[in-house]
Symmetry: C2
């Protein structure tokens, strides 16, 4: 595992777990939510992976990601049914036995009527030894944190509630500022001056995203960076380049 | 690379390339589209990855995926701007030089007015040596296929049009049938009989997906399989289990 203290900006990856995403039945919504959430904490989301409900695939992905990034967030596979295998897979990835957690067991047992807290529901109290619970305001079934891996539910409402519990445990980075400039032009027309601009402003990252709408086409130029003075200088240089090229532009944000 | 002839069911992975997905600015739509598209061809989508516009990250992901799966589909990073680095990264992954493709160059040059076909736009005619063009009905800028890797645009409209050109090149598998049964119950209540059902019907995969709506909660049970007789038998056994448990259910599809 990389040492968070050694990196100025914390890095993260997300692992989305679930057959339903790979079959196309469900459109994942958690990745984009996490991306925006981490951005508000100044944490760089660097990679995403999507794997099926297959133990070997989950174990391999967890081990690849947890050694490369400061934080790994997973969604899916922690419910009571036979296809919920994430908890055991994470335990296996860490060679940690999975055992009933007394607090999780107590909270779950209070939730159910007598006779309803069956074996399957009791399974939701099992977490790897050494892990800490992730609580949430929607459900009594917990997620858990094992070292730098945060294991959360796939249901978006619960995933989001769990992130609230996780946020205070994360080291924050300085925020990335962003300026979006819309230019009514084909991106090929400005690609060369844009390349020169990127070279002249190495402290920022300039992204170019063409759009095609009924009212016309154009490009959104997104300038991003942690140094706000450098960001504003690069944004103004981009606007000046567009002006000099005779292209209408509009600053949408930043 | 695995030999497609040796596997009955073709497998695939998708690599989504782009800073805008990782920053949360853009919600990817291509993965879910590809998942549904491949399902109609009987090809199993097994894994997804999302990486930034960083050459080393793209090269590593391409090489990891192309050796594990029959097909790899990428989206993003093939436009004319400085942040479009996918073509060179794929060339590097295959140790293939990237050169101007005469047909791509000719088609692009016809599209532009005299003086408009600048260096940046000419870059879109560069593909790795040995690759085949992927044409589309929306744009003259091509994608390309290099061995088992299909490199396509990130703009969803163009990505989808490119898939139409790619489809005839893909080996098809037998289709996966699917039956969805909605049950008005908490999934924990039926988790144990469901586990037994999965064990008794190893030819199908049973997924359990809870939902929480204003009108109430419940679970969607999705039974999937290539053997349609086994699929129907498992679906009926699931319905019988629900009936015997006194739970209302409804078959939504299949």
């Amino acid at each position: 595992m990389s040492n968070p203290e050694q990196n100025e900006v914390p890095t993260a990856a997300m692992l989305v777990i679930g057959d339903e995403i790979l079959s196309g039945r469900t459109q994942d919504a958690n990745f984009a939510y996490l991306a925006r959430f981490l951005a508000t904490l100044g944490i760089d989301l660097r990679e995403g992976r999507i794997v099926a409900d297959v133990e070997d695939a989950i174990v391999a992905a967890i081990n690849a990601l947890r050694t490369q990034y400061d934080y790994v967030f997973t969604s899916g596979g922690i419910g009571p049914t036979h296809d919920d295998i994430t908890t055991d897979a994470v335990g296996k990835a860490f060679s940690a036995p999975v055992e009933v957690h007394p607090e999780a067991f107590a909270r779950l047992s209070e939730r159910y009527q007598p006779g309803e807290f069956n074996t399957a529901r009791q399974r939701m109290a099992r977490i790897p030894v050494g892990a800490h619970l992730i609580r949430n305001s929607v459900s009594v079934a917990p997620g858990f944190q094992l070292e730098n891996v945060f294991v959360m539910a796939g249901v978006p409402m619960i995933f989001r509630a769990m992130l609230e519990d996780v946020a205070p445990r994360l080291r924050r980075g300085s925020l990335v500022g962003s300026v979006t400039i819309r230019a009514r032009t084909g991106e090929g027309r400005i690609a060369e001056p844009l390349r020169a601009l990127q070279k002249a402003h190495p402290e920022v990252v300039i992204g170019s995203y063409p759009y095609f709408l009924d009212e016309g086409y154009g490009v959104q130029l997104v300038v991003r960076g942690r140094n706000l003075a450098a960001l504003e200088a690069a944004a103004q240089a981009t606007e000046a380049m567009l002006r000099e090229s005779g292209i209408d532009s509009e600053r949408l944000s930043g």
